[in-house]
């Protein structure tokens, strides 16, 4: 499948429904370790972010019942899960989870997602562009990042996560739409 024929589908409704009542607290340690790991392994990201590393980014997967707030300060990075994004964030980025993951992994092009309206951005557009370019150059592989954090549970996680990613990347053609 090439990047040019990807269509973004939302996460399965049943999965979203099942996630809705779950507490966010158990997710937090994983997010804290994840952002610390990314900061440690991808220092070049902050060179590209420059002054925008001090900004706050709200990331809302529109098909999930929660969102993320990112403050990518090199010395004290912060990634937290929230039910609704706070007011006063510098940037708000929203789109289906598949689009956001594809963007981080470099499998989807940010401008193309914007043209297709899969991605919505509001706020400090300069910070959005800097983050997009920094992440694309950093070659972050989220599966590798999380697997390395989970130790012995990493293998099973990878299988489940890759299956979920494949599901999110189904094309309209494959669905016969």
């Amino acid at each position: 499948m090439s990047a040019s024929d990807l269509s973004i589908l939302p996460a399965p409704p049943l999965l979203i429904l099942a996630m809705r009542p779950l507490p966010l607290a158990p997710l937090q340690p994983l997010l804290s370790f994840l952002i610390a790991s990314i900061v440690r392994r991808h220092r070049g990201l902050f060179v590209r972010l420059g002054a925008h590393a001090g900004k706050t980014f709200g990331i809302h997967p529109t098909d999930l019942p929660f969102a993320f707030e990112l403050a990518p300060k090199p010395d004290r990075p912060r990634l937290v899960a929230v039910r609704t994004l706070s007011k006063g964030l510098d940037v708000r980025i929203s789109g289906p989870l598949g689009a956001l993951l594809g963007l981080v992994n470099g499998e989807l092009d940010g401008d193309a997602l914007f043209f297709s309206r899969d991605l919505r951005v509001e706020g400090d557009f300069e910070a959005v562009v800097a983050l997009r370019n920094a992440v694309d150059d950093a070659q972050i592989n989220l599966v590798d990042e999380i697997r390395s954090l989970l130790g012995p549970l990493g293998g099973p996680f990878e299988i489940v996560f890759r299956m979920a990613l494949e599901r999110l990347r189904e094309t309209h053609e494959e669905r016969g739409v």
Binding site: D5, G50, D109, D136
Partner: protein, 325 residues
Amino acid sequence: MELVCPAGTPAALKVAVDAGAGAVYCGFNDETNARNFPGLNFSREELIAGIALAHRRGVKVLVAINTFPRAGGMGLWRSAVDDATRAGADALILADVGLLDYAANKHPKQRLHVSVQAAAANADSIRFYVENFGVHRVVLPRVLSVPEIAAVTKECGCETEVFVFGGLCVMAEGRCSLSSYATGCSPNMQGACSPASHVNYRQERGKMVSRLGEFTINSFAKGEPAAYPTLCKGRFATNGALGYIFEDPTSLDAAAMLPGLKEAGVSALKIEGRQRGRAYIEAVVHAFRQALKALDAGRPIETASLSALTEGQTTTVGAYRKTWR
């Protein structure tokens, strides 16, 4: 024909090389190149490493230093010329005659290309660059038909390079002041058309409204493909009608024109998009490498559908096949 591919970051350069680029063009992370976007471009160290990587794979690296130096501020542009030459760039892509003169005199062995930003669109103009600065190639503006390209190529005295994919600019490139008027920042001197610092998107009554400085550029209904927030692709109300008065938001895809461009004597084909991500570069470079293989083998060119990657999600052959609207 050489396939000249964009790279805004070292990661993108590697992707372009892997996907089949014959040459990669890139720029420094400052005002000296016309894609001076936040988080984009190369440091001196990254350029040296990128050139080494590309050369190991037999791929050339062309360095764009294609903005116009400010009065009293030549130092930044001259040091870019010196550093790119020292780094081993296979060619420098320049637009300003003063900088071309500096490069030709200071680095007489360095290969020089005339940037599209110079808007050199006829043989007389191009010969001026050849005769005075010894340039080897000119990147032609995106306003010429294929027969016009053939005529220019025959008479201009150097190689010609044309765009085959990506964003379209139908203005006199390097001389357009629309973005400067709206933002006070010059794309021709500071390197960013519609700089992100002046762009704003917001939701209004169910539509996405794009603004550049104090100007509303466009509003897109739900599900309608979006475009870059440039004034030339704005949708404006004139005489009671709403429409695109300069150009439609669409991208160039000249894959179908490759046989004609080859026959016209064109030496190199350029893909626009240093500001785009790795996914775009991989897909577009791969598609055009396959198209060139088919062309060289005498097979019909099967054009891959790349419209999902393009502005407005539509493509055109632009001025290469001129028709009246």
